[in-house]
């Protein structure tokens, strides 16, 4: 009886240690270890790479080189490819919708420009205005700041969005609503704004 009790005590002690250590192990990858800036940089790297691939290998190839299909803002009505900027925005909207169900995942992003075709994509907040101007004037540099919107504080990062393919330039220069018609390849055409809440 005494032996059984002793074994039970040992077993319980071992279980506590085991459970505790598993918590410790989980905590290793679960504890906050990257800064908001690093997270934004990593997110941007993924967004920008996907965006570049879609623009080069799908839109530019099929529209400009092989000339088999159009890309259009009204892709459904015109049976055309989704524009790269729309592809980006649809992704951002889906992220926002999916993130609503994830307690720990909270960020938003958008594509904006000082020369927007759709005026709703012009910078609105002070951080956006300063950031977009900064990345346009300081090629290769990103802009990081904090801002308060609707009573919440955000870390806001702005990254340059550059014309990577001939199709970027031709579409923007020729669009009927464009406020700028002299873009060249390599120009900063706008910026990606990523926001991460600072207060949880």
């Amino acid at each position: 009886m005494k032996y059984i009790r002793k074994s039970l005590v040992t077993l319980s002690a071992l279980s506590v240690v085991a459970i505790g250590s598993s918590v410790v192990i989980a905590a290793d990858y679960d504890k906050p270890s990257i800064s908001a800036k690093t997270m934004a940089d990593a997110l941007h790297l993924v967004m920008d790479s996907d965006r570049t691939i879609y623009t080069r290998k799908i839109v530019n190839r099929l529209v400009k080189k092989e000339k088999v299909i159009k890309a259009s803002e009204h892709f459904e009505d015109e049976k055309a490819l989704v524009l790269p900027a729309q592809m980006f925005r649809f992704g951002s909207e889906l992220v926002a919708k999916r993130a609503e169900k994830l307690d720990d995942v909270n960020f938003s992003y958008s594509l904006q420009s000082l020369w927007p075709i759709n005026k709703q994509n012009a910078p609105k907040t002070d951080a956006e205005k300063t950031g977009l101007k900064y990345i346009a004037e300081n090629k290769g540099k990103n802009y990081y700041t904090e801002e308060t919107l609707g009573g919440k504080t955000y870390f806001t990062a702005v990254y340059a969005d550059t014309a990577v393919a001939p199709v970027c330039v031709s579409c923007h220069n020729d669009h009927k609503d464009t406020p700028k018609r002299d873009f060249k390849i390599g120009d900063v055409m706008g910026g990606v704004v990523i926001r991460i809440p600072m207060d949880g």
Partner: protein, 471 residues
């Protein structure tokens, strides 16, 4: 004397207590027991919702319904059209923190910000309870952004042929540009054809295992006492898509036995079984004015409850599938015109048979017109549309939710009018209330400027592009 005064005081107090208790009991009865709780309604409901005023809990899902709960209730019925491309102001647009300042002026994330119920004094067309110039909150700089809009009043944004806050699909500038200079009547005016029967096998929800798609003969009819079957019923069944698609008598006439797990034949099965094969049509029917009471758990709509003028001798009728689709025959020609006119009695309905549309309908019906060239009531109010049945597939079906194509009437431009008419003529016609009353018998007498504005915008852009190219 003082004793008498006290006694009368006492009886008054008792009277007050009894009356108060009676009042409380009365309220409690209405609150918890009575089906009709309209006594608590703060005001009459909009024509969109009046049918479900007896089902308070459709919207008031909790004792103290929160804004989020109200929003969920709105989306339970209206959610499918609150997304792109059917909504140009979907919630996703406003959830971005960068739009927080816009939400402070008008909370576009909540339907009730613009559509409050029980407020008839402040409600305008389409249940709008914001002042009609509400666009100003977010688009105050439109005059600077678009030269064509300079000097326009914000109260006119919503005018016929200009903008719809939600469904702007037939009014956006590039759409207008694409439809410039189109004739009044298209070169080949034709409406979409039926395709359900041809696609049964590829439709995931169709019970093809239960009803293999093999035409049935009269000898295969599986009704009990089949030898006593009325010859008209037999003929009707044989001539319809049901017999030719392998749908036998028991498919509709066998219903579940309460509390048991087997089916039993009934001569009057109702319409519960329609859903087996026509689920989408039934779902859409229950979202529209004809079927919304059923989706709220209420008895079917009785014609007398309608707010539109209805025919006297139809007021007792109730609406379900069979009201328009007569059992066994299920004649879709009849359902598209005569069924509607059995009840509807407003000026627009009364004028239909004098209209060019009806003339075309008659020509098609008697074989003189090509298929798809006749225009019935359903062609405009329950058109055949290419409907997304899930994220990956669509099928052409009759949209039984007549609300989807009703108001504002620009909603019917793409699904109906443009199959046969040019956009400019369509915009003018839909803005002409007299022409609508006489069911489009004649030409529009009003003109909408939108097309000219789009043309000027196009020319301006072309000029700018040419100047840029010169540089």
């Amino acid at each position: 004397m003082p004793e008498q005064a006290n006694a009368s005081k006492n009886s008054l107090m008792w009277l007050w207590i009894v009356l108060t208790l009676l009042l409380i009991a009365g309220f409690a009865y209405y609150m918890f027991e009575a089906n009709d709780k309209t006594v608590f309604m703060p005001g009459p409901m909009t024509s969109g919702h009046h049918q479900i005023e007896l089902a308070c809990d459709t919207c008031h899902t909790d004792s103290f319904t929160s804004a989020d709960q109200f929003q969920k209730a709105c989306l339970d019925c209206h959610g499918d059209v609150r997304k792109k491309p059917f909504d140009s102001h979907p919630a996703s647009k406003f959830k971005d923190p960068r739009n927080a300042d816009l939400l402070a002026s008008i909370n576009a994330l909540q339907c009730i910000s613009c559509h409050q119920e029980h407020q008839p004094a402040m409600t305008t067309a389409n249940g709008l309870t914001q002042p009609v110039d509400f666009c100003i909150h977010c688009h105050k700089d439109i005059g600077e952004e678009r030269a064509s809009h300079q000097g326009m009043e914000f109260a006119t944004c919503n005018n016929s042929g200009c903008h719809n806050f939600h469904n702007n699909r037939a009014l956006y500038t590039d759409f207008l540009v694409r439809h410039l200079d189109k004739p009044v009547v298209a070169e080949k005016p034709v409406l979409p054809a039926k395709e359900f029967a041809d696609r049964l096998e590829e439709l995931i929800d169709y019970p093809v295992d239960k009803y293999p798609i093999t035409p049935l003969l009269v000898s295969q009819a599986d009704a009990p006492r089949v030898d006593q079957l009325n010859s008209e019923v037999q003929r009707d069944w044989l001539e319809t898509g049901h017999a030719s698609s392998g749908v036998n008598c028991t498919a509709c006439h066998e219903v579940p036995v309460k509390g048991e797990d087997h089916l039993e034949w009934t001569d009057y099965p109702g319409y519960a079984n329609c859903k087996q094969c026509h689920q989408l049509e039934v779902n859409r029917f229950q979202l529209g004015k004809h079927g919304m009471k059923q989706s709220a758990g209420l008895p079917p709509l009785q014609v007398s409850e309608a707010r539109l003028p209805m025919k006297e001798d139809s007021l007792h009728k109730q609406l379900d599938c069979g009201s328009c689709h007569q059992p066994h025959r299920f004649d879709v020609q009849e359902a598209a015109v005569e069924s509607c006119l059995t009840c509807h009695n407003d000026q627009h309905s009364q004028s239909y048979k004098d209209s060019p549309h009806y003339n075309l309908w008659q020509l098609e019906s008697n074989g003189q017109g090509k298929p798809g060239t006749g225009v019935s009531c359903a062609s405009c109010h329950m058109p055949r549309v290419d409907f997304d049945i899930n994220d990956w597939m669509s099928r052409v079906m009759v949209d039984h939710n007549q609300n989807a194509n009703l108001s504002p009437n620009e909603k019917m431009i793409r699904s109906s009018c443009l199959h046969c008419h040019g956009l400019s003529f369509t915009l003018d016609s839909l803005a002409d209330s007299e022409l609508i009353k006489n069911n489009f018998n004649g030409r529009p007498t009003v003109h909408i400027e939108s097309m000219e504005m789009a043309r000027r915008d196009l020319l301006r852009a072309q000029e700018e592009a040419a100047q840029a190219a010169e540089k």
